[in-house]
Point group: C2
Chain length 369, copies 2
């Protein structure tokens, strides 16, 4: 019999957890397996906020004695009564003797409490198995719990020499088709909202939809947030004509333009009144408002000025840089700010790479020194 | 018995050919193996210009009958009398019945002639095995034969957003230590000369040596070519103090400065008089002169203005872009030229990637549309 490792079983938990993507928030994605004599005898995942936790699903699914069983779960079992009774009690009642966990509960009030109770009751607990992978899976949830702010991903499509558009301002298509498909499937389809500047809307008139490889729309589409201090968005923009129900326009809170406001609202667009300075929306205020609206994961797609503001204000959690292999020159650099010293420049960490046709994706968390 | 493929044996030829690196020019690097009953029975490589060709070495090394043997060689055997008798004759005399070749002789006068003769004599010939790899191995030789110009590699160390230095002009160290080591071992130690602009000398005062991982100098060091129209190089520069014997300064041919010329020459530096325009050395004239001096492979290391000129004048054969994951901003873009349209921008083809610590190498041949 093959001897599977703790990492193997935790990997199975992460795969199960992933099945809940998009439906669990504000809860985390969690998967659990029960292992007896080296074999998985039951499994479960958290399907949706309000439904049972993964551990409970796994325990309830199995018949018979669990005294020899080990429970694997990617997040520390809860110890308090929420919408469901605490998982720790369920584990104790089931008679499970060993629990393997990837990450602790990020909530400071609960962090380590479930583990402590289990240990006090004589359960063997192992922590930290596939910790990094589990943290990454639930990075949006962790940000929500710890910072009460949306997790901010940024997508940049640039040339080899760091330009987002050629010297004429043309940016279609800097990255290759397979890279764009990846961006739809792995980014747009998984976030709560896409943020763009009004210039992107005026210039490219995008749809900002998430489409699959056949060009069909995914079942759930991200909301759209346009940074548009002066409410310049045309009523004929594609994101109003085709996506009004999911479009939010962030305007300067002191802007009057009552008539345009009414026209825009009539189309089904929501208007958020946000402070602004020098023609720039206050990003902190906007992000906080989006968070309160249940938007926990945003994808910033540009243009350059918007990305620059997010870099300068240190709001970026991770970046996806799709880099084409052309040399463009010209003025449309990704970052036009005053510049950083090498020693203190923001940089990517935990970097990963993925190769597409004529394009490479460099993906990492943004580390502000 | 394992059944080895033609690719396997050709791979062995390429490894043998590589042993001649740096010593064969103006001849190519060539390796050959003789295979009988699926086993390598003899081998050879071209050690040095003037010494026997790889095929001859392999045939001479073996005792006994070669009638059942196949010859593998990465370049079409020569058919004309050069410094040595033609290999085609040697092959025919040996009685070999099958010849496998990677690439044809690039010289239009000989291209396909050796193959034709062999076929006329009833030898089975297979071409094109590991052709791409063989072309890459001998790309400097091919350029020499076809264009009578040096092969131009360019090394760029840049930030994620395409800056070669931070906003203060500081460029040490944009790429990580392991990436710099790679650049010494795989680039500097393998080229005939490094080209830099005078600003790089004035600002960084580099040594421009090729060092191994212990910091020791490789046995052969590249020559150094400084683009210095007005002969501004200080006599105290490290490349004069420590590398005078291998340093060439390219100055405007109309420049007078007789005294400085004499001082520089006294230090062992050679001065090349080249046409210039707007303070820029005429690169074509310089490259032709370097070619005539037997410099067949140059590595352009910067700075930005020099690389820009090489891009604009379309002299780059391949680029090595070492990209760090920091965002620097500022004015030191890799390419500051007027800019290209996306559809007609120069871009890398046959791209390869290599991951270092916090740095990725993007390497490819430059394709001018």
């Amino acid at each position: 019999m093959k001897n599977y490792s703790d990492s193997y079983f935790m990997g199975e938990c992460l795969k199960l957890a992933e099945k809940g993507r998009g439906k669990t928030l504000p809860n985390p994605m969690v998967g659990a397996v029960l292992v007896k004599n080296g074999k998985i005898v039951s499994w479960g995942f958290h399907k949706k906020s309000g439904l049972p936790h993964a551990e409970v699903v796994a325990i309830n699914r199995v018949q018979g004695n669990l005294k020899e069983a080990a429970l694997y779960v990617n997040l520390e079992p809860c110890s308090s009564h929420g919408k469901t009774p605490p998982c720790v009690e369920k584990i104790l009642h089931a008679g499970i003797k060993r629990v393997v966990i990837a990450t602790r509960d990020p909530n400071p009030l609960h962090n380590g409490r479930g583990i402590k109770i289990l240990k006090q009751k004589g359960i063997k607990v192992k922590e930290g198995v596939l910790k990094k992978e589990a943290q990454y899976l639930n990075r949006v949830f962790f940000k929500h719990i710890v910072d009460k702010m949306p997790y901010v991903s940024v997508k940049v499509a640039q040339s080899l020499d760091g330009r987002m558009a050629d010297f004429k301002g043309e940016s279609k298509w800097i990255s290759s088709k397979d890279a764009r498909l990846y961006a739809h499937q792995e980014l747009r389809s998984k976030v709560s909202a896409i943020i763009v500047g009004i210039n992107t809307v005026l210039k490219d008139n995008p749809y900002l939809t998430a489409r699959n490889k056949n060009g069909e729309l995914f079942k759930t589409q991200p909301q759209i947030v346009v940074l548009d201090t002066r409410l310049r968005i045309p009523l004929t923009a594609n994101i109003i004509k085709k996506g009004a129900g999911r479009t939010i326009v962030a305007v300067d809170k002191n802007l009057i333009k009552d008539k345009k406001r009414e026209l825009v609202k009539k189309k089904g667009v929501r208007v958020f009144n946000i402070s602004s300075c020098d023609g720039k929306i206050n990003l902190k205020e906007l992000l906080k408002k989006l968070y309160r609206e249940g938007i926990y994961h945003v994808l910033v797609e540009g243009g350059g000025r918007v990305i620059e503001s997010f870099i300068n204000d240190k709001f970026i959690d991770e970046m996806y840089v799709f880099m084409n292999n052309a040399i463009l020159g010209g003025d449309y650099s990704v970052y036009n700010g005053k510049g950083f010293k090498i020693s203190s420049a923001p940089r990517l960490k935990n970097t990963e790479y993925k190769v597409f046709k004529d394009t490479i994706l460099i993906k990492g968390e943004l580390d502000y020194v």
